[in-house]
């Protein structure tokens, strides 16, 4: 109990934190939101200024973010928070608009059974407010535009490369760009009109659409057809984004010609990682991000017990799941709540260490 007390003291807040939480986080934030829901002291919020139906299952949301938005680089994504039945859920969406503009667009394909994409499609209207995170991601055009570029995409994977294409067009840097996109049919090509228009305007842009429903065409990415279309692909700086099978086949092709170092890729990983449910007896790795340590956890016991066995001293209280003192953010991995039996696989969820058991390798904000 005494050591618990000392640890308790360590995370007690100083006076300035108290004032900030009381006055700024709570009251100032409330009144700012009352005056204008897009304003906030800390959160990046954006007003939806337009909703564009791109295809049957894809919509673009044109957003005007508040002053907290720091801009993005072509190819990056932004986390988007929406509230689904009272619960905030976060998904990352590639930004499809070019950098440097006041308006920011995300283009969202409706995923069957996808909570957030369905919610955005069904409930988000012009004038609504969305919460964003700072733009992130390494899938970006280099500062010096490469002479020869290849943008290779499939389906909704077009969104980040569209931002790149629009950026090149806006900067008039379209020297030699091959844009190869795969879709089921012409009607499924997102940004179809704009692509045609850009190709007509820029002599340096070659637009190739590979459609599944063309007579005698292969489905999806096919090496022979592709090598025919872009014979010099191995010499081009390539940006690849699309469904898993397309990405895998393309990566193998680049590997086979020894050009992998010219290939940049962005994959839209499924929001919920395939649940690797291991019994904790098998042992898992728990990475503590803040202290930059890794702990091997083996055998039975809650995360709290396991961490303590390994010499860690995380903050905690009741040890039975009622006081919430041991709450911490799980950045990735799967845990199971022993009281409710609930399995949590989504990234960035708050978990209670004293009643959670690891079900996969984990990364904790500790």
């Amino acid at each position: 109990m005494d050591s618990m007390q000392d640890r308790g003291l360590a995370w007690r807040s100083g006076g300035s934190i108290v004032a900030r939480r009381l006055l700024l986080d709570r009251q100032a934030e409330f009144w700012m939101g009352e005056l204008d829901p897009v304003r906030s002291l800390g959160e990046i919020r954006a007003r939806v200024v337009e909703v564009v139906e791109e295809t049957d299952d894809t919509k673009t949301f044109v957003l005007r973010p508040n002053a907290a938005w720091q801009g993005h680089r072509a190819g990056q994504f932004t986390p988007v928070d929406v509230e689904v039945n009272g619960v905030r859920v976060r998904r990352c969406y590639s930004i499809s608009s070019p950098p440097g503009e006041a308006l920011v667009s995300i283009t969202v394909k409706r995923v069957p059974g996808g909570r957030v994409s369905t919610w955005l499609h069904e409930h988000t209207r012009r004038g609504d407010i969305l919460r964003l995170g700072a733009a992130a991601g390494d899938f970006v055009l280099p500062a010096a535009t490469p002479e020869k570029l290849l943008l290779l995409s499939g389906g909704s994977g077009i969104t980040p490369v569209m931002s790149m294409l629009r950026d090149l067009a806006a900067r008039d840097a379209m020297h030699d760009v091959a844009f190869v996109h795969h879709a089921r049919s012409r009607a499924d090509v997102i940004f179809d009109e704009e692509l045609t228009e850009l190709a007509a305007r820029h002599a340096g842009l070659r637009l190739v659409l590979c459609l599944d429903d063309e007579p005698s065409a292969p489905r999806g990415f096919e090496e022979a057809r592709f090598a025919n279309l872009v014979p010099d692909f191995a010499e081009r700086s390539t940006f690849l984004c699309g469904p898993g099978p397309l990405m895998e086949r393309a990566e193998r092709l680049w590997e086979s010609v020894g050009a992998s170092d010219l290939l940049e890729r962005e994959s839209f990983a499924p929001a919920i990682a395939p649940t690797l449910v291991v019994s904790s007896a098998e042992g898992v790795q728990v990475r503590l991000a803040r202290s930059d340590r890794a702990v091997a956890v083996k055998g039975q016991g809650t995360l709290l017990e396991q961490l303590e066995l390994a010499g860690e001293r995380p903050a905690h209280g009741c040890r039975i799941g009622i006081c919430h003192s041991c709450k911490c953010r799980k950045q990735s991995g799967t845990v199971q709540n022993l009281v409710t039996g609930e399995v949590s696989s989504e990234p960035d969820q708050e978990i209670q260490l004293c009643i959670s058991v690891p079900r996969s390798d984990l990364e904790l904000d500790l």
Partner: protein, 377 residues
């Protein structure tokens, strides 16, 4: 109401606990938009009420606007401390993942710091509820509220001490986690005490500055009126929260436990103790909201991290389960519970009575759920 709870064997207590767990699961699965809307509506009401109160105090003149302004400010403080602050800090809305409703970051309009509260209340009081020597909320270390506490001559003064505590309740709450008694008993060094007290002193200074310097100064000539209004609003909130909290744990029929009785307690037995250590107040929707749903103290102690606004609909089910296991469900009108508490505090200022004989808990049986969770293999 004065009927005693039947003593349950460990197996019976665990079966009782399983039924409560099932009820808990059912409500958790149903949490959603209406719960978030409720708390946001109360937050809005509290903020608008505060703004209205301040405008009336700052710019009004005469007694009518003074009384209205003070009442509106007091109402906002009561809502903020009880339904909003207390409940959010319990983690009742953590499932929403809204940072404004996050238990670990919330800071309330009270001299007690959020962090001290989370430790002394959420952890100590809710884990060790009504265990003599472990729950420091039993009479807060200086009042005798149960006959099991040994009588000392100092308890003769407790009707007066309790009255002062009621008027200055937020200061009692704020200083509670500093363990001043341990300083005098030599159980903590002045250095430890100083370290422990620093956040409280900072926050208290901040609160005093806000209520009695900053806002009065803004009101220029109306400064004395504003300072007095703030004082009365804080005092009203103090009296109200004191009354609600004393009615929750100290009326007749609520029992205390010894450490020995609760050794190796199972989750089911923890539930039994929470039930027998709490008492409800009956009333309408607004009474419940103004008490932060602590009028449903029993449901709150059984399910501290379920949104309080759900307690009224859970209560009939809890009562049924209690009846089935022969457990008393201590409830009564506000007047009844309050007079019971006042009578008890007055009676216990004198020596005696002999604690009512209660059968000890049945000896632990094997293969029951231990209180600390073990991972299933």
């Amino acid at each position: 109401m004065t009927t005693q709870s039947k003593n349950l064997t460990r197996e019976e207590a665990d079966a009782f606990g399983r039924e409560l767990d099932a009820l808990r699961q059912e409500v958790i699965a149903d949490l959603g938009e209406r719960d978030v809307e409720h708390i946001r509506q109360i937050i809005r009401t509290a903020n608008l009420s505060e703004a209205a109160g301040r405008v009336l105090l700052h710019f009004g003149f005469g007694p009518v606007s003074f009384v209205l302004g003070t009442s509106a400010l007091g109402l906002s403080k009561i809502l903020e401390n009880m339904e909003i602050g207390h409940n959010i800090m319990h983690g009742q809305y953590d499932w929403t993942r809204d940072p404004a409703l996050n238990s670990q970051r919330y800071e309330w309009d009270n001299v007690c710091t959020g962090d001290d509260w989370r430790h002394s209340h959420n952890y100590e009081h809710h884990t060790f509820t009504n265990i003599l020597g472990k729950d420091r909320d039993i009479g807060y270390g200086f009042l005798r509220v149960a006959p099991e506490q040994p009588w000392k001559p100092v308890h003769l003064t407790q009707p007066i001490v309790a009255t002062f505590l009621a008027l200055l309740f937020q200061w009692g709450v704020g200083a509670h986690d500093l363990r001043i008694d341990e300083l005098f008993a030599g159980k903590q060094t002045p250095a430890q005490f100083g370290k422990r007290a620093r956040p409280f002193v900072t926050k208290a200074g901040w609160q005093l500055f806000k209520d009695y310097a900053f806002f009065p100064a803004l009101a220029l000539a109306n400064a004395p009126r504003v300072a007095l209004g703030n004082l009365l609003a804080n005092g009203t909130r103090n009296l109200w929260t004191y009354a609600v909290i004393f009615c929750g744990h100290f009326p007749e029929g609520v029992r205390v436990y010894t450490e020995a009785e609760t050794r190796d307690e199972s989750r089911g037995q923890w539930y039994v103790r929470q039930l027998n250590g709490s008492a409800n107040i009956e009333g309408g929707r607004w009474l419940h909201v103004l008490t932060g749903h602590l009028s449903h103290q029993i449901e709150h102690h059984l399910f501290p991290d379920i949104p309080g606004a759900r307690y009224p609909e859970m209560a009939p089910r809890v009562r049924e389960i209690c009846a089935h296991y022969g457990q008393a469900y201590n409830t009564g009108s506000f007047r009844h519970q309050l007079s019971s508490v006042i009578g008890r505090v007055a009676r216990l200022s004198l020596p005696g009575p002999k604690p009512a004989a209660k059968a000890m808990r049945a000896a632990p049986a094997e293969a029951a759920t231990p209180l600390t969770y073990r991972a299933a293999a």
